[in-house]
Point group: C2
Chain length 162, copies 2
DNA sequence: CAGATTTCAGACTCTTTTGTCCAAAATAAG
DNA sequence: CTTATTTTGGACAAAAGAGTCTGAAATCTG
């Protein structure tokens, strides 16, 4: 569904958004907390800065930060910046120009799903996901936390208890 | 979204289902009409026969045929046989065990989409898609037909005009 | 039986994705 | 100015996906 690059990018961006206290968050910190290869994540985040979703800063106290308020970045933006928007537009069978005029046999059904996916991705903001990530039982990585805070450095935003 | 193998498998199966007159359809015929590499398609269809969705027969007059009536094979079966069912079950961020207890930040939204996709894929039968494929303006490949029948050997099933 | 047809099985190549590594450029702090 | 930190950029390797090819096994036809 989503590429590894895209998944890492989404996870990292949520992490940065949830970590509102730091101005610039070093990629090394993100990588170690999310258990992602540092060098690989570096490239992914470079792409997000090139797409204008993040700002970066070199040197000590440097790192990456959101280029816009978390309310103005959506899941759609993140996916589009890394994997491209083809998931939201393409035919299930990959047929170019599949539409009402010359559809594939599954066109109408797939279109329905695709449109709902698009609506949801456009509505789901980074702020919403970051708030979720601050809740006790919600996680960003494959590690279960079981009532422990996985990222002690991140304070719960939405009144979730630690 | 779907792998090339899976797309080819779906296209080929629809073709076979739409081609109800032939008992066994040679893979070479499917490959040439759908413009798919013969050897590659061979492997994909082999997988479908191993999964019990198709029967195959060697030698002259041989080829592949549906192992079950087209009403009893769904899009879900085809995808599951080639790409596996992970699309229908997995977390958007790929987190193992992502569920109500320990969800990812996008869990509830993605679950909604995923469930609808599952319902649609389970309901969409090969018969329905094959009927569609028999209609004049519907196509299985990236070639537009523009009011020409792309596969003259296949007769329209559902009263579509040629 | 001989020859033609077709699937089966495996080896092989090419491309894309994923992951690793290293040196250079920018910046902060002493 | 020097050193440590951090992103940038590119090269490189490993793994997976996509596609090609060859020979063997099965089966029909004559």
């Amino acid at each position: 569904m989503l590429s590894k690059s895209c998944i890492y990018g989404i996870q990292a961006t949520i992490y940065v958004a949830a970590n509102a206290s730091q101005e610039f968050v070093p990629i090394s910190q993100i990588a170690s907390e999310l258990k992602i290869s540092f060098h690989f994540l570096t490239k992914v985040l470079q792409q997000l800065t090139q797409e204008g979703l993040m700002n970066s800063y070199r040197g000590p106290k440097g790192g990456v930060a959101l280029a816009k308020p978390a309310t103005e970045i959506t899941l759609y933006d993140l996916i589009g910046a890394i994997d491209g928007t083809s998931i939201f537009t393409e035919c299930m069978l990959g047929l170019p120009g599949c539409g009402i005029a010359e559809p594939c046999p599954a066109h109408e059904h797939w279109t329905k799903i695709r449109n709902e996916l698009t609506v949801i991705a456009r509505r789901l903001t980074l702020e919403t996901m970051a708030k979720k990530a601050g809740e006790l039982n919600v996680r960003l990585t494959d590690e279960f936390r079981y009532a422990q805070r996985l990222f002690p450095s991140i304070k719960p935003i939405n009144g979730a208890q630690a």
